[in-house]
């Protein structure tokens, strides 16, 4: 095997894998055994970041970019005229081990185009993971893609060696899927997801009785949706996401702004801007649902089908629900504190703890790290000063936008001019 050929393969197959945004290496509890290599316990580590600011935590590659499918949004689709390559199992193992030993990565994220059929492909992915675990005594993180349509037996085996499994839903609506990926059926995506979910439930139950039950996908499963490829609303996306979180116990749903890669008339054209701001707002919403105690219907509903681009979803919610404010920082419960714009969960924690010692004033809040430029309109504290004017939501929004700097200034310019 020449070094140049390996280098070329790595370039092709890393390039093809980069549109998968998941890079998380956290949530597993695999520990180093028998003085082996690696330790996937505790929180994840981002070893470096790409120039577009995404974290690089795993060696993220495709086993091959040969594919029998022709999904319009995918760069490795059959009809696309690109260089094709395939790794041998041993090559992936060697790369992973040597990168890991140098502390470049937390582990491997292995995906693949579909060659021949689903099972044939899945079998090869499993072979890599198995070899790493059993022959190399590797205890780092392994994320395998569940190939849509793969058999239950293979999914069972995959979970025994992998920390995380994922199937990408890609298109949030069934109609969009039909349009852009006519070869694929929604059921094929769901099937491996159901299997993994049931295996995890079963593992947890057995673990209680028999301590030595082998681990099954300890870091759970995740999925990804492409944003802005099929004309869907934010409500479509977040309701789909909510459905998957609730029904499949997913650890994460990732949102990937569509990067135009073809001149297919069904899709945004090459040169069209990647909807990064929208993607950011979706992630903020995702966080509000998972950590801040919001219900999806509070943020997106029939009257509010899309998220505001100029302000974050929590501020947007607060401005529509001014009757809930102002909140007394020294009295409100954690749930309500978490709903105040400008307060993150860390600030909420600090406030809950610190106010047991003395009532907090503006100075305390500022030092603790509360973003007062937003929070000041929604709170009272141990001070005679507070917002006494009866401001309309529009005015508050105007003041906040005037007094805040954002990395998304250019995307926001249009709205700002309304207030200046």
């Amino acid at each position: 095997m020449s070094f140049d050929r390996l280098k070329e393969k790595l370039n092709i197959l890393a390039d093809a894998a980069k549109y998968d945004v998941s890079c998380s290496s956290s949530g597993s509890n695999r520990t180093n055994k028998n003085k082996g290599l690696g330790n996937a316990s505790a929180s994840g580590i981002c070893h470096t970041y790409t120039e577009d600011g995404r974290c690089v935590s795993l060696l993220k590659i495709l086993l091959t970019n040969h594919c029998i499918f022709d999904c319009a949004y995918c760069v490795t689709r059959k009809s696309n005229d690109i260089k094709r390559a395939a790794f041998k199992v041993q090559e992936v193992v060697d790369l992973t081990i040597n990168f890991y030993r140098r502390n470049y990565i937390e582990g491997l994220f292995l995906s693949s185009g579909i060659f021949k059929n689903a099972d044939y492909t899945m079998e090869r992915l499993v072979a890599v993971a198995k070899k790493l675990r059993l022959e190399e005594n590797f205890n780092g993180y392994i994320h395998l893609k569940s190939i849509p349509g793969a058999s239950d037996e293979l999914m069972r085996e995959a979970g025994l060696y992998a920390d995380r499994l994922s199937v990408n839903i890609e298109i949030p609506t069934t109609s969009g899927l039909k349009l852009l990926a006519p070869d694929k059926k929604r059921e094929d995506f769901i099937k491996p997801m159901v299997k993994v979910k049931n295996e995890i439930i079963q593992y947890k139950a057995e673990k209680k009785l028999i301590k030595s039950t082998p681990k099954y996908a300890p870091a759970g499963q995740s999925t990804q949706m492409i944003i802005g490829a099929s004309g869907e609303t934010d409500k479509d996306i977040m309701y789909a996401s909510n459905y998957f979180y609730k029904n499949f116990n997913l650890k994460r749903v990732y949102y990937s702004g569509y990067v135009p890669i073809s001149y297919d008339s069904r899709l945004p054209q090459i040169g069209a801007e990647v909807p990064m701001l929208r993607e950011n707002r979706l992630y903020q919403t995702d966080w509000l649902l998972r950590f801040y105690g919001f219900d999806i219907t509070e943020i997106l509903n029939e009257h509010h089908m899309n998220l505001d681009l100029d302000i974050d979803p929590k501020l947007s919610w607060a401005l529509r629900n001014m009757n809930e404010f102002p909140v007394d920082i020294n009295k409100a419960d954690g749930r309500m504190l978490a709903r105040i714009p400008g307060l993150g969960m860390r600030s909420v924690y600090k406030i809950l703890k610190a106010r047991k010692f003395r009532a907090l004033n503006w100075d305390h809040l500022k030092k603790i790290g509360v973003a007062l430029n937003r929070a000041q309109y929604f709170i009272t504290c141990d001070s005679k000063d507070f917002e006494t004017r009866d401001l309309t939501p529009e005015r508050i929004k105007g003041y906040i936008l005037q007094n805040s700097k954002t990395k998304f200034n250019s995307a926001r310019q249009a709205q700002l001019s309304l207030f200046s």
């Binding site: 070094f3 390996l6 280098k7 790595l10 370039n11 890393a14 390039d15 980069k18 549109y19 520990t31 180093n32 003085k35 082996g36 290599l37 690696g38 330790n39 580590i45 981002c46 070893h47 470096t48 970041y49 790409t50 120039e51 577009d52 600011g53 995404r54 974290c55 690089v56 060696l59 993220k60 790369l95 040597n98 990168f99 030993r101 140098r102 502390n103 470049y104 005594n137 702004g257 990067v259 135009p260 990647v274 990064m276 600090k350 703890k353 610190a354 047991k356 010692f357 003395r358 907090l360 305390h364 030092k367 603790i368 990395k407």
Partner: protein
């Protein structure tokens, strides 16, 4: 006017705790506590060198452990490793308040000293986490994985366990060039080592007389991999530099010029 004292200690955590012991034991009117290596004389105080004594240090530490949770104790230790000027005085006040109070003061975030300790501990932990991420080992000719660094804070004591658990089957060295000491794992235990580097030694280069012949191959593959993961239409250098500040680039093989 009563004389106040500046206590000078050897820069170790035990040394600092010994100072705290002396403050209580001898009821010293304290002006400040200083690491002898960076000590400055003051017009207003008389200097006094404190000999580190483990027994005294342990007594202070164990009485703190009774007042604070293990996490809070660890936070205090992390704040110490920040090596910030004046951190000793903040910590002394923190300890005095702790010993006076009936309950743990560790979450009294509207107290300036408590907040300062919490914030410094967070900065130190962030640096620890960065070192766990940005350490890059290079395989030397004699089979040892070698990495050098110069962290903002003295975090080697904090990252020891992480690397020990992770790389149990390979020999490795992590060397702090700024503080001139390193950790060496010899497949059995981790020792603290000091090296005399050759004058021409350039920590950013992987010279072929020192490193394994395959070393450059993997560095090249890694750099190429890093390049292939970029999505050009999403380029955002501001965010990139925020995540990977430039002062760390010299140790990241993917960021070095070819």
């Amino acid at each position: 006017m009563t004389t106040r004292f500046t206590l000078n200690y050897d820069g170790t955590f035990d040394g600092f705790l010994t100072c705290v012991f002396e403050v209580y034991e001898k009821k010293i009117k304290i002006f400040n506590i200083q690491n002898i290596a960076v000590a400055q004389d003051s017009l207003f105080a008389q200097s006094y060198a404190v000999q580190t004594e483990e027994v005294k240090a342990n007594r202070v530490w164990s009485s703190l452990k009774k007042r604070l949770t293990p996490q809070a104790c660890h936070q205090l230790y992390c704040a110490f490793l920040s090596e910030r000027t004046g951190i000793e005085d903040v910590m002394l006040r923190y300890i005095q308040k702790s010993l006076k109070s009936k309950r743990s003061i560790a979450t009294d975030f509207s107290d300036d000293d408590v907040l300062k300790v919490a914030q410094l501990a967070k900065m130190v932990n962030r640096e620890k986490h960065r070192m766990e991420a940005f350490i890059r080992f290079r395989l030397t000719k004699n089979g040892v994985y070698f990495a050098n660094c110069d962290p903002d804070f003295n975090v080697l004591p904090l990252i020891r366990k992480h690397f020990l658990k992770r790389y149990a089957d390979q020999q490795w060295i992590i060397y702090d060039l700024k503080r001139d000491y390193g950790l060496y794992y010899n497949l059995h235990k981790v020792d603290i080592v000091n090296f005399q580097f050759d004058k021409n030694f350039d920590p950013t280069k992987a010279s072929s007389d020192m490193f394994d012949e395959d070393e450059l191959v993997f560095q090249t593959l890694w750099r190429d991999y890093f390049k292939s993961t970029n999505i050009k239409s999403r380029k955002n250098m501001r965010l990139h530099i925020q995540h990977v500040p430039k002062r760390y680039w010299k140790y990241l093989s993917e960021k070095l010029p070819e």
